[in-house]
Symmetry: none
Subunit: 320 residues, 2 copies
C-alpha cells in the first residue's frame, strides 16, 4: 500500500513567476512523490505548494528548494496581505493514508535539522511537532512577523528549536511541523471595506469568537475589488464548511453585504466537501448519493459553496 | 452608577421549606443587594438562591448564611439527583455592570477567607478565581462528591485554597469563585423526534461540535408535544444568542424542521439581549437605539428570538 502524506510549503513570493518556477523546480519529476500544484497569489505575495507522496522522499529535494528560496527571496523587500516571517514561511507534513502522525513529525525534524545546519535557518517546530505550548499555533509563532522576529527570537521562550537565536538576515525564520489536514478556505464579500471582513473574522474565529478550530482574518483582493474572510478550518469534521459558509452569510447580512464566491487554497479532502454537499441536498430535499463521482461532487460543491477556480484535481483523492 | 454583580449560592436542601427559610433569612432585606429568588428543587434536593447588587455588601450576610447551613444541613444524610460536595455547595460571583471580574474574584476570596477561618470550612476557589488548572471546572472539583471528599482532600493536588486539608464532618467542602454570567437558553423544534434535537445539540456544542462555550443536549417537552435543544451559553459575548439561534435554524433545515419558539431559564443580562436585537435591527436596516428601554428590548427580543414566557423581569437589570 502506498504511504501517502501531503506536504504544503508556503513561500513568500507570489508575483515573479520566473522566481517561483526556479524555486519549485527541484520538486518536479522526483521519485516517490508528486508536485501537485503551486498557486501564486499576487495580493498575498505568497505561493502555496502542494506535494503528495511518501514524505521521506521529499526531504532532499526540499533542502535544495530552501537553498533556492534563500538565493531569490529577500524578506526585507517583501510586502503582502498575508502575515509571514520567512522566505519559506511554513512547511507542514500531513498524514493522509498508511502513514502515522509520528512519521510526519520525524520528517519535520529531519528537514528542520538539515535546513538549520546546511543553510543557517532558525526553525520552530509547530503544531503536532511543537516542543512547547506557545509553538502549537502557527499565528503565535508568526506574531510580530519578519520585522519583529529579530527581537522576538532573542527571548528565552522564543529560542528556536534548531539553529541559532538570530534570524537569517534575508530569509527570516521558518516553522516546520506536522498536523492533521486542514482546509484553507476564503470567502469573498461584495464590499471593499476590510473592516467588514475583520468583524466577521472576529465573530467566527476561535481566538475571539464563537467557533472552535477556526483561524480567520480579513484580506483585501485588489484584483477583484473586494475583501475576503480568509481562514483555516483546523477540524472540518467538527466545523463543516457549509456551517462556516452559512454563518458568514448570516453575519454579513448585518452589514448589508453578501457572499459572491469562495475558494479552496491547496487541496481538500473529499470528505470535507461531501459533508457540505450532503447538508445542501438534505435541506432542499434532494437525494444524497454517498457514492457520487468526484466529478459530481465537484459540480455540486461549486454550485452550493460558490467555489471559484475549483476543479476535481483540488480534491486530494483525485491525485492518488 | 450602581455596581452590580449577581451571586448564586446553591445549598444542599430542597425539601424542608422551614430549613430553607431559616438559612436564607440573613439574605433578606439587606442594604446594597436584593434576594431575587430562591428555587427549591425536590428531586435535586437543592435550592438555587439568586442575589443581585453590590457584592461587597453580600459578604457579611453570606457568612451568617453559611453558619446557618452548617447548623441545619448534615451531608451524611443527604441524597439527591444533583451532584454535591457541601451543605453550601457552590457560590459564584458574576460581574453584571460597572464591576470587573477582578472585583468579583476579590469578593470570592474575601468570603472564602472568612468561612474557612470562622467556620472551619475548606474552600476551593474555582472558575476565574481558580489558582490551579484542575480547579477551573466545577465538575472536576466536585468529582467523588461529599462521600469521596474526605480522601480526595488529602491529596497534594486537592489541598484546599483555604482551610485545612480535611472536610468539615457534616458540611463537607465548598467551591467559591467568580465567572461570567451564563445564559440558560432552550430552543423549541416543531418535531417530537428527540434524535433531531440530539443531532443539532451535537453539532453546536463544544464537546462534539463547532461552537465554543456551549453546553447543549436534547430534551422532550411532553406538555408541549415537541422537543428542544437545551443549552448553557457560557460566554454570550463570544457566542451571541442570535448566532446560536440562526445556526439552529440552519441545522434544523436539513431535517425539514423549523423553530417554533425559545425560552430563557432564570435571568439574562441586558447586554446579551441587546447584542441579538442589534443584529436583527441591522440586518433589516432598521435603526438600532442603544438607549432603548427595557420594555422595548423585551418586545424586540420576543419578536426576533420567538421568546415565550418572557417578560421584562427576566432581565437582570430590571431587578436592580
Amino acid at each position: 500500500m502506498n504511504r501517502i502524506a501531503q506536504c504544503v510549503p508556503n513561500i513568500s513570493e507570489g508575483r515573479n513567476l520566473d522566481i517561483i518556477e526556479y524555486i519549485v523546480e527541484p520538486l518536479k519529476n522526483q521519485q516517490g512523490f508528486q508536485l501537485i500544484s503551486y498557486e501564486p497569489d499576487q495580493d498575498y505575495h505568497r505561493t502555496v505548494i502542494t506535494l503528495i507522496g511518501d514524505p521521506h522522499f521529499m526531504i532532499l529535494p526540499l533542502i535544495e528548494f530552501f537553498r533556492r528560496a534563500i538565493e531569490k527571496i529577500d524578506m526585507r523587500m517583501h510586502k503582502g496581505e498575508h502575515p509571514r516571517m520567512g522566505a519559506v514561511d511554513v512547511v507542514p507534513f500531513i498524514p493522509i493514508s498508511n502513514i502515522t502522525m509520528e512519521e510526519c513529525i520525524e520528517c519535520a525534524k529531519d528537514l528542520a535539522i538539515h535546513v538549520s545546519y546546511m543553510h543557517q535557518i532558525p526553525v520552530y517546530l509547530y503544531a503536532k511537532a511543537a516542543t512547547q505550548d506557545n509553538r502549537i499555533q502557527l499565528p503565535d509563532i508568526r506574531k510580530g512577523e519578519f520585522e519583529g522576529m529579530s527581537t522576538k527570537i532573542t527571548l528565552p521562550e522564543w529560542k528556536p528549536d534548531y539553529g541559532q537565536p538570530m534570524i537569517h538576515p534575508t530569509f527570516g525564520v521558518v516553522a516546520i511541523g506536522a498536523r492533521m489536514p486542514l482546509v484553507a478556505y476564503n470567502i469573498d464579500l461584495n464590499t471593499t471595506d476590510e473592516k467588514v471582513a475583520s468583524f466577521i473574522a472576529k465573530a467566527i474565529r476561535q481566538s475571539s469568537g464563537g467557533f472552535q478550530y477556526i483561524q480567520a482574518g480579513p484580506a483585501t483582493l485588489s484584483e477583484m475589488n473586494c475583501v475576503q474572510v480568509t481562514m483555516n478550518i483546523l477540524d472540518y469534521k467538527k466545523n463543516p464548511i457549509y456551517r462556516i459558509f452559512e454563518t458568514v452569510v448570516m453575519e454579513a447580512k448585518r452589514y448589508q453585504v453578501s457572499i459572491t464566491g469562495s475558494e479552496v487554497i491547496g487541496l481538500i479532502p473529499q470528505e470535507a466537501l461531501m459533508d457540505s454537499v450532503k447538508y445542501y441536498m438534505q435541506s432542499s430535499q434532494q437525494t444524497y448519493d454517498k457514492q457520487m463521482s468526484l466529478e459530481t461532487l465537484t459540480e455540486l460543491s461549486i454550485k452550493h459553496l460558490k467555489l471559484r477556480g475549483f476543479s476535481k484535481h483540488k480534491i486530494i483523492e483525485a491525485n492518488v
